[in-house]
């Protein structure tokens, strides 16, 4: 069977779901169930008695087969991210941590230097580190060397719905990586998710596209189908795109001329 391998965890689903931006927790839980996702991201927030329904830990625990992947969203430095990771592991017991450090609240682009520093520390501490980064092939290899369990390059900016704008860089990262590449952020439609899997990535993380859809549970199901199709196509060996046009005069005639 074809599993997504992260550390010692094997996942049959290659769709990871984010839990933010949903209209309410009930819809979010339905979407998670419909998606078949086995890895779900959550953020850390201060306890607020007035909004007790925001506390997702207990409700998510009712869904079978879910592993939590807390993120460090809110942190703008490596030190803050490391602290958040410790708190998150304390609460969830899960070794997964999505290192997400975006100091600029406008575009939410990840800080590569703080991210690298945080990942280096957390990997040594035994976390399964999943860094959120721009699609930078060299940064991806640096993070792999540092001991991350995967790299999570963005397809395009969070919530932008621009799809696989970084496709060329993503394909380089995928080709060169020894660890799973999880395309995160910017995916708008199931066909884009399928395209990412067809490129050979290990999984996709989708949040906004499901949360703000007209019918999130149905959209989650659509994404699940697309991810399965994309992965199958990749494994089946896609037909190559055709090459350049033929030269005007034959290039290989020298092979007939014997020396």
């Amino acid at each position: 069977m074809d599993f997504l391998q992260l550390g010692s965890y094997s996942f049959s689903s290659r769709l990871i779901l984010g839990t933010g931006k949903f209209s309410n927790a009930k819809v979010m839980l339905e979407a998670v169930r419909a998606s078949g996702a086995q890895l779900v991201t959550v953020a850390l927030r201060r306890f607020n008695r007035q909004q007790a329904e925001d506390d997702l830990f207990a409700p998510l625990s009712t869904i079978e087969g879910i592993t939590l992947m807390p993120n460090t969203s809110g942190a703008s430095t490596a030190a803050e991210a490391v602290r958040a990771a410790h708190i998150a592991r304390e609460l969830s017991g899960s070794p997964f941590i999505k290192v997400e450090i975006h100091p600029n609240p406008q575009h939410l682009m990840p800080d590569p230097i703080e991210t690298y520093e945080a990942c280096r520390i957390l990997a040594k501490e035994g976390f399964l580190v999943m860094p959120y980064i721009t699609a930078d092939p060299v940064l991806a290899k640096r993070l792999e060397d540092a001991g991350c369990a995967s790299v999570m390059p963005l397809g395009s900016a969070i919530g932008s719905g621009q799809g696989l704008a970084a496709a060329e860089m993503l394909s380089i990262i995928i080709r060169e990586s020894n660890i799973p590449v999880i395309v995160d952020a910017g995916l708008r439609s199931p066909s884009e998710a399928a395209a990412a899997l067809e490129m050979g990535c290990g999984a996709v993380l989708v949040n906004s596209a499901v949360a703000v859809a007209g019918n999130p549970p149905e959209m989650a199901e659509a994404f699940a189908g697309a991810v399965v199709a994309g992965r199958k196509a990749f494994r089946a060996g896609l037909m190559q795109k055709s090459g350049s046009a033929l030269a005007t005069s034959p290039l290989t005639s020298f092979l007939e001329a014997k020396a």
């Binding site: 060169e176 060996g237 190559q240 033929l246 092979l255």
Partner: protein
Amino acid sequence: MSISPEWLTDDRDSAELARMLAPSSSSTLESLAAESKAITLRRFGRTISLYAPLYLSNHCSSGCAYCGFASDRNTLRRRLEPEEIGREILAMKKIGISDILLLTGERTKLADFDYLRRSVEIAAKSMQRVSVEAFPMSVSEYRMLAECGCTGVTIYQETYNRERYESLHRWGPKKDFLDRLETPARALEGGIKTVGLGVLLGLSEPLEDALMLYRHVRHLARRYWRAGISVSFPRIRPQTGGYEPPFPVDDHFLARMIFSFRITLPDIELVLSTRESGTFRDGMAGLAITRMSIASRTTVGGYHDPENNEKGQFDVSDNRSAEEFCNTLRSRNIEPVFKNWDPAYNGPAYGKNTEIHPEKLKPCH
């Protein structure tokens, strides 16, 4: 017998190459040539980098069935002394060469690691780029070589077919298939910047060897992501001793293999030596090949005193002088390049773990 590594046997990544090389392939040679040419032009431009081999010694402890220098062959054995090396290098510089490949056989008392290292030191004084094609070494030996100015290591697996490999390497240290397989990785781990891989075409079924060679390249590229990797295509030529290759590779297959490698490995340096004829080399330059040897001697030394009648490791097919060859390249709108980077950058690259140790950047004594 320990198992071959998974990266060598996993056929998923090499599926596209397999399709291009299959006898039933629908891609014509001409269409592969056109695509290969387009990729080469985009990635490498209209240049070919040039180098020349210098055989330091033909002493050898191994018994490779196909080699003119095998230890059971009746050949005059000698090695170049430091002054002779200096003279050879001067002669090579006179004809424009500044990128040199130093060759020896397997490790012997007379041509051992210290001899090789001293030779690299001498060459690095006046050559821009110094590579070696010699015996497999340890990581720390490669690091010492890198510190002395060695920037490249060429080591051919000869064949990736394990049974064929073991029957061809009848005795000596080269008999160990897995040790040889791991050698390029050791060189890169030791800080050598580029490695050259290849199979000796004719030894085994070529399609199989091509696929495994491709997988070796991909494996090293993913594991040593800062490394330069080149692939050569040596084809067994007539040599003293008369080894008949059991799987002879014709020009058409060789061309198809080279084009397919260019298409599936667009960033890799592809190398052709003077084993091949002038016509073949001229044709392939600009279509896929980006690096070639020139004015080669496969005898020990031979540049300083070109009239010597010794037998070489193999017979050179393209005997043109450096000047003739360069003029031909220029007439085909290709610029010959002798120098790639400043030797001030020579020295160990990082291994897999990137930690800078300033005290290790001392110059070699």
